[in-house]
Symmetry: C7
Amino acid sequence: MFPPAMAGYDRAITIFSPEGKIYQVEYAGEAVKRGWPTVGVKCRSGVVLVAEKRKISALFDPSSLEKIYLVDEHVAASPSGLLADARILIDYARDVALSHRFIYDEPIDIELLTKAVCNLKQQYTQFGGTRPFGVALLVAGVDRHGARLFQTDPSGVYIGYFATAIGADSGTISEFLEKNYKFDLGMGECVELAVKALASAVEITESGNIEVAYATVEEKKMKKMTQEEVAALVAKLPKKS
Amino acid sequence: MFPPAMAGYDRAITIFSPEGKIYQVEYAGEAVKRGWPTVGVKCRSGVVLVAEKRKISALFDPSSLEKIYLVDEHVAASPSGLLADARILIDYARDVALSHRFIYDEPIDIELLTKAVCNLKQQYTQFGGTRPFGVALLVAGVDRHGARLFQTDPSGVYIGYFATAIGADSGTISEFLEKNYKFDLGMGECVELAVKALASAVEITESGNIEVAYATVEEKKMKKMTQEEVAALVAKLPKKS
Amino acid sequence: MFPPAMAGYDRAITIFSPEGKIYQVEYAGEAVKRGWPTVGVKCRSGVVLVAEKRKISALFDPSSLEKIYLVDEHVAASPSGLLADARILIDYARDVALSHRFIYDEPIDIELLTKAVCNLKQQYTQFGGTRPFGVALLVAGVDRHGARLFQTDPSGVYIGYFATAIGADSGTISEFLEKNYKFDLGMGECVELAVKALASAVEITESGNIEVAYATVEEKKMKKMTQEEVAALVAKLPKKS
Amino acid sequence: MFPPAMAGYDRAITIFSPEGKIYQVEYAGEAVKRGWPTVGVKCRSGVVLVAEKRKISALFDPSSLEKIYLVDEHVAASPSGLLADARILIDYARDVALSHRFIYDEPIDIELLTKAVCNLKQQYTQFGGTRPFGVALLVAGVDRHGARLFQTDPSGVYIGYFATAIGADSGTISEFLEKNYKFDLGMGECVELAVKALASAVEITESGNIEVAYATVEEKKMKKMTQEEVAALVAKLPKKS
Amino acid sequence: MFPPAMAGYDRAITIFSPEGKIYQVEYAGEAVKRGWPTVGVKCRSGVVLVAEKRKISALFDPSSLEKIYLVDEHVAASPSGLLADARILIDYARDVALSHRFIYDEPIDIELLTKAVCNLKQQYTQFGGTRPFGVALLVAGVDRHGARLFQTDPSGVYIGYFATAIGADSGTISEFLEKNYKFDLGMGECVELAVKALASAVEITESGNIEVAYATVEEKKMKKMTQEEVAALVAKLPKKS
Amino acid sequence: MFPPAMAGYDRAITIFSPEGKIYQVEYAGEAVKRGWPTVGVKCRSGVVLVAEKRKISALFDPSSLEKIYLVDEHVAASPSGLLADARILIDYARDVALSHRFIYDEPIDIELLTKAVCNLKQQYTQFGGTRPFGVALLVAGVDRHGARLFQTDPSGVYIGYFATAIGADSGTISEFLEKNYKFDLGMGECVELAVKALASAVEITESGNIEVAYATVEEKKMKKMTQEEVAALVAKLPKKS
Amino acid sequence: MFPPAMAGYDRAITIFSPEGKIYQVEYAGEAVKRGWPTVGVKCRSGVVLVAEKRKISALFDPSSLEKIYLVDEHVAASPSGLLADARILIDYARDVALSHRFIYDEPIDIELLTKAVCNLKQQYTQFGGTRPFGVALLVAGVDRHGARLFQTDPSGVYIGYFATAIGADSGTISEFLEKNYKFDLGMGECVELAVKALASAVEITESGNIEVAYATVEEKKMKKMTQEEVAALVAKLPKKS
């Protein structure tokens, strides 16, 4: 499956292949593609994250596992990929945001926060003796520039989107978003769009296999919906037939 | 058994394979699967751990070997996998719990404790020059949020469960739990369920080849049963025929 | 594609091949060749950078991604290659420029700035345990010596040009420049030449898939054009037919 | 003898094989199996260690070589495996025991001592740049919990036994012990059982090719028999015919 | 082209081959042989360096690239090989010369300066984790001992010459020098000899594809010719026919 | 000569082979076996070392090379193997002995001295990035316990002997010793036995190709014989015919 | 030329081969054998070093290159092998000699000096991450013990000689010395013997392709002959016919 000539390039950590690729980073990308998907949508009224949380087993306690993490009052992040790696990055992001508040007495700009996390990621792609982080993040929130939505990848690149998805089936979800996205949406419509986009690839159940967090431009507060709110939201979805 | 093309990926420590997996972590998981099983069950009234302790030899002194370790007054942990690795993690957990009591004068939240242990585990999967810990842990106890039960794996992920098992035959035991689990159980019923679940895969003898520890939501104290209590408990089990 | 006898030379980081080449540096050059192109032109009246910014997806937010970075008031830089690596180098350049202002109370000479960045790049080609930066930069601006335009590559070499291009299709663009370049150009003509040069290899749309920054010898200020200015500029281009 | 596909796993130090084993630890175990055997027996009245000390050559000075080391007044240890490694561990154990006396003014608990030694062993199995200790130890003594007997292996695991053996022919000796062991023995009977057990696999001569050390529960002092005492003991053994 | 049996010796950095050679140093020498040539000539009246500076492209700005660097008032150096490596060595030489002036208040002896640079080079051939500098230097100037001319190579060896050349075609140029060199030359004749020697292998154009620097024994100042002076010098050369 | 399957185990420094051996230590033992032999004999009256010192060439200055080194007044050591390694160990032993005298104001016990040297040796067999010492030592002297004679090997093991030999032909010499050794010897007889033992494998010439050092139990001083004393001794030997 | 089975042993630095050899040291010895030869002779009246200095090219400046280095007033050293390595060792020797004078106010003993240099050499044969020094040295001089002559090799061994040679053709030269050496020589005869010995393998020209340095037992000063003295000496040699 892997031709022998290629076999050597991925053993030594973070070196270039003859085509100028860093295979360890590409392979870390595979870990992301196998993660549970998260959708992010930003519109005139705010920004929303919707993440799938699969039922790992019948006796799994969903309340013990987060797929959307509040990083600070005004910003949240949702990972796809290796969960243990994600936890490290989320903790790092929280430290950065907290330090910023402590030093400057203001919420951190979301791009600055995203850049700090991505600079950490980049270092793990350049130095030997370690591996890249096997995780992508959607970072979403509202700051003085308005609603923000960034997607980061294992290489340390981050890019802003109006609407995007990471993880398994992100291709299908992105196609749905491209067909249905409008910027002029109220917060409720925006949430609905994100949920429908996720539903285009994943079966959403009323018992709550998704997490939803949103922030409006007015309030600038990221809020995670309760399980009841999510259930109500899912109940309103048109049934697939 | 292992095709030559794959052989290269697991030599260098903690790097990604082309599919985005970290083989050293997967192989550490094999060490877990060969460990003696532990069952954990949490219910309305409390939480229980039941662990098998095999008779290594006829002259082995069972009192010298623990499979369930009290970490703090309100929390215990039981490993499957490499026992020497487990000891290191348990000692680390005890340090973390003790420091928390010392600094904040309160018992540590069990999720916070589990996360600290798992952050250590994650680091051993990302940096070169070391190997992952070859051990999974069930962490169980009662804190201000009620009964808690977490399962950790060598990658540093932890997930909450109502009932779960690690180690050899954990698949069989989990199936038993899925069929028989109810949340509304008294402490006695809960213990009995856990023991029966273990008995579904392992022959339990009256001479005490298991350890049992439990905590009730009221008391918030993790208690290890004496050998006599265990013997009495086992005696009440329906005999297999 | 690569004969087996050669296969060994690129695994160990930053060593010489029998022909005296450092393969890791050559491969990093491949990452540059796959980057989006940037054009730089310097003339009597000033200097200009024009960079392509591709529409990654329909819902990508172009305002979130820069291809031309202001480093200081009088100097800008535009990378081709790995974006995460570029960000690190740009931040480094900004630090160097800011320190110079702080210590000497004057804008940094652009060659001195370029040299500082390239010395960092060189170190990453000589020491083990790391990989070269997979990025080339065009550094342009106006200082007390007049308009300056430097091209850097992953090996840490920098060379001054009257007009040059980096990234994908840089060969085609350079040919266009060699045919059409004159030193005696006004600022407007200079910008136009750079845009046309890029257009010789890349389709430029009015919706703004390029960034433009320029500085005149008189003002010594690097200015990024707004999206409206760019649109007006593109509208004036002769249509391809 | 070793299939090529397996050959790679043991070169890089302390990594997991696909079956979840750490080959370097397993191979260190081979060094133990080739060591001279030691027997340990604990009973109601105390604990005893009996170790073979082979006559390396006709002119070897047996008084210069110990197989049983007093670690502290109340505890001794006997290794099988690489003698130079053993010496390092014994010195470490003596340091630990001495520090404990110095700080707490009491003899160290034997399990605590054993754990300290095994934690050191475990570290040498997890970090790169070193190899595991190629030695097993029997640690025996009497503390406030009574007679204690622990067996440690190169992985850093320790387990308590009523009677056990390490080194060459430990299988044969263990079988003998399983057939003949009783807990209710006086100190003399206990010593005799241990010597007979060793004699089941090794020819014991009156000239003193064994060392014997024992401690009674009353005295809590580990005593090494003199060569004369050993000779007398051996003389009483039934002759093999 | 390289027999497989030899392939292994050049991977590990700076080790000996069975013939007592250090391949990495030899390969670094190949990088030197592919560099643009520099000629150095010393005579009774002074010393001169003449270096080729190729026109990399039609729009390359020759004023931005030096091939001869003034190190201190009385000494200059010209490299062949990797330009980024050369820059590091030149900066190092400048530091050494400046420190010497600062501490001793006199110009540094040119051999002492050359030795300092070569000691740095030697270290990069002996220690792992780095590669040799891929650059040779001609160091020329006038100090209290008179005119000096040294050639250094990647191994850290330096040797004095009356006339020599490094880089591409250095063999051809050296042959020319051996046929035509005389010690009793005035400064003008000395410069002319060096230019002609370079011209024996490289086509020199009036537009200035060479750099020239010289110092007389009387003045002890190294001077770089202006482009006009170079053009006048080249104009006087006999035309090849 | 070496089957390919084995070839891998000796490259990585100080790891175990599947049979539990440390090949680097075994190979260091080969360096010992190729060294010039040394004989040591201890008896009731004292201890003696006799070492061969080969005439490397006709113009070699034998007075410049020692094969027996005085470590302290009461103890000497003689190496076989790599001479440069031996020098390092002898210097280390002298430091240890001197420090002991300085701190405790008494001669160091010879076993303690030997153990210190062997602990150093052991470390070089366990940690990566270095190789074992390729040298064995005979350490001989008289301390408060009487005459002492220890043999150390590259693994760091030391063992006491009544009489032993290291280096080339040590097997032949040991056989001679086993046949002829008696404990009840005067100092003169003891020296004679050691010289004859060496002569059993090596041709001893009157011109002094051996070194002899001895200490009596009464005096406790290690003395090296002068060349004249050695010549007289050799002259008394029965001639081989 | 090199059988594949051997190929692996020389890659990892400074490890033992199965025969107990350290290949890197042996290969460094090859670098020595390819160096220009040096002869050393010591006699009743003093000691002399004679070294060949080849004319590298017609325009090479012989005054710029030393083959015999004065280390201190009373001692000189001459290397064969890698010249850059030699320079490092000579500088180290000068530091050691100077420190000794500074601390003890007396010239350093020549054996002590030689040992210091060789201890440095030994370290480079035992630790990873570096290679041995590829150079042998003859160290000659006069101290309070009289005339001294030591030969060192890359392994760190040093041995005293009455007369010896290192570098290319050292075998031929040594044969000449063995046939013609006498201890009872005046200084002039001693120098003549050394020159003739070198001439037995190398053509010596009157233009000075050798260096000569000598010290008499009375004066205890090492003196390098001027080019004129050397020319006179060579003129007196019998011509080869």
